[in-house]
Amino acid sequence: MSNIQPVFIALQANNDTLPIIEAICSDNPQAQVNEYPAMVKINCPGRMVIRRSSVEERMGRDFDLRELQINLISLAGEVDESEDEFVLFWKA
C-alpha cells in the first residue's frame, strides 16, 4: 500500500488561519479537519498541498507561504516548499 499514511499540519485557530484552512480543504478533498481548543489539526492521507494562489484568493491580498511559520504549530511528513506550493508528503 502506498501513499496512504497520513500527513498533518496543525495551525493556531485564529483569524489569520481561517482562509488558509479553507484553501487546504478546497485543494485537498481528502483533508480532515479536527478542531481542538486554540488549535486546528488537518490530516490528509499521503499528501497535502497548500497553494499560495488559493490562500491569496481567500485572503484578498498577497501571501508569502513562509508566513505560515507564524501560525504553524506542528506538521508531519516530508516538506517541499517553493514560492507557489507548500507540500507535505510521505514517500512510502
Binding site: 499514511q5 496543525a10 481548543p37 486554540a38 489539526k41 508569502d64 506542528s74 506538521l75 511528513g77 510521505w90
Partner: protein, 532 residues
Amino acid sequence: MAADGDLKPIKKLSLKENYALLTRGLGWEPTYEKKEEIFRTIDFEGIKIHDWEKWEDPFRLTMDAYWKYQGEKERKLYAIIDAFQQNNGQFNVTDARYVQALKLFLNGIVGLEYASHRGFNILGREFPGVGPRIAAQMQAIDELRHATTQIHAISHYNRFFEGMADFPHQFDRVWYLSIPKSFFEDAVSSGPFEFIVAISFAFEYVLTNLAFMPWMSGAAFNGDMSTVSFGFSAQSDEARHMTLGIEVIKFLLEQDPDNVPLVQKWIDKWFWRGYRLLALLATMMDYMLPKRVMSWSEAWTIYYEENGGALFADLARYGIRPPKYADVTIKEKQRVSHEMWSIFYSVRNAVGFPVWLPSAEEMDWFSEKYPDTFDRYYRPRFEHWRELEEKGTPFTNMTLPQLCQVCQWPCIYTEPDDPTEFVHRETEYQGETFHFCSDGCKDIFCNEPEKYVHAWLPVHQIYQGNCFPEGADPTAPDFNPLVAALQYMGIKPGVDGGLMSQHVDASRWEQWTSRPANLHEGAITQAVRKTT
C-alpha cells in the same frame, strides 16, 4: 549598482536560488588549517558523510525571512502577554491546581530549552556542512528565545504563587529535576551526530508533539492565555526543527549504508530516553489540568502510534524499523500517569508543588478513558488514600526511592505484562551493581556502561552527604539529613510541597478570587461565598 543608470534591475531570486546562495555561496574550504583540526568531533562516532552539499533544508529559510517572521512572532506573543498581565489573567485559569503544572514546566522544562540552545550552538560550530550549520545556528537562537519567553511569561505567576522563584537553582539540584536535566546533558555530551538524532529526530520529531499540541491546547482550555501563547510561539519554531530532524535522518541514511545501524541504535536509545522523560507530561496532562482535552493514552495513540507509524513506514525503505520497546510504551499508556501521580502523592513533602487526590468526577473520567486499568488498579488505591486523608492520617512515604541509573526516575514502573509487579532490572559492571526501571534503560546502560556509571543520582548523592546546604553540620545531634537535603534543593518544607488543600497557594487563591482552589472539591476557606 544604483549609480549605473543603464543596469536593468536584477531579477528577483527564487526561494531555491536564495537558499542556495546562503548555504553554498557563503561557505569556503580552509587553506591554512587542516579541516580535521577545525572539525575535531565529526569522525569519532563512525558516521560517514561523503557529500555535505546533498543537505537540503526543505524550508529554505533565508536570514531576511527568519528575522522578519521571528520578529512578528515576538510582537504577537508580547501583545498577548501584556494583555494577560494587565487583566490579572493568572486568576482566570480554572483553579489553583492548574498553576502547579506551571511549576513543573518552569523548574523542569525551561532549563531544557537553554540546554538545547547550548547543544545547537555546538553543532553550529562542529558541522562542516554550511546547510546544517545554518539550520543549527537558527535553532540555537530559537531555543534561547523559547527559554527567555517562557521565563518572562511565567515570571508573572511568580508574583502570586510559591515555588517558582528559584528555578535555575532547583533545576540543578531537585531530585526529580535531574530526570530532564540528565536527559539533555546525556545528549549534549555525546557526539554531534548522536545529539542531532537524539534531539532533532527522536525527541522533537517523534515526541514533542505530545508536549506542545495536546498539553498546550489543554492550557488554552484551562484559560491560560499566557502559556498557550508562548507554547504555540515556541511550537511554530518547533515545526521547523522537526523538519530538520527528518532531514537529518534522511541525509545520514542516504550518505552511507554503514550509517544505518548507528542511526537505528540512536533512535532506539533516544526514543526510550525521551519517552521516559515524557512520563512527567503524562502526569501533567491527566492529573494537573482541571479541565481536560484528551487523556495521555489518547494522545499517545494519535501522536505516537498513528503519526509515528506513518513516519516509520516511510523510513522502512532505508532499513530503519520502529524504535525498540515501542510496544512497551503502548502497553504502559494505560498506566504510566497513574503510577507517576501515586509516587508524587506519596512523596509530596519532598516535591516543589502540592498534590491532591483525584476527585470523584475525575476518577469517573479516568474510568472512561482507561477502561482496562483504572477501576481495577488505581481507583481502589486512591479511594483508600482518601479514607486515610479523611481520618487525618494521610499515606506518606518517607523512604528515598531506588533510582534508575539511566533515566533517573525512581524504579516505579510495572512489568509490561503485569501492572501489579514492579519492574526491577540490574546488572553488574566492574564489581558494582546498577539498577534500572526497565529493559529499555538497562540496554542503554549495557551499550555504554562507561558513560552511565558517572550518572549523578540524587538519592545516592544525598546518602553520600553531597546534598546539604553550605555550613550544615551532619554531626549535630538534631541534624535531619532529609530536611537538609530539601533545603539544599531549594524546596521549603511546609511551603512548597504537601497537600493542595493545606497549601498557601490554595488559601490565597480563594482570598483573591473568591473561587474554590479545587473546582471539584468545594472551598477550603471562608473566602468563597456559598452559592447554595
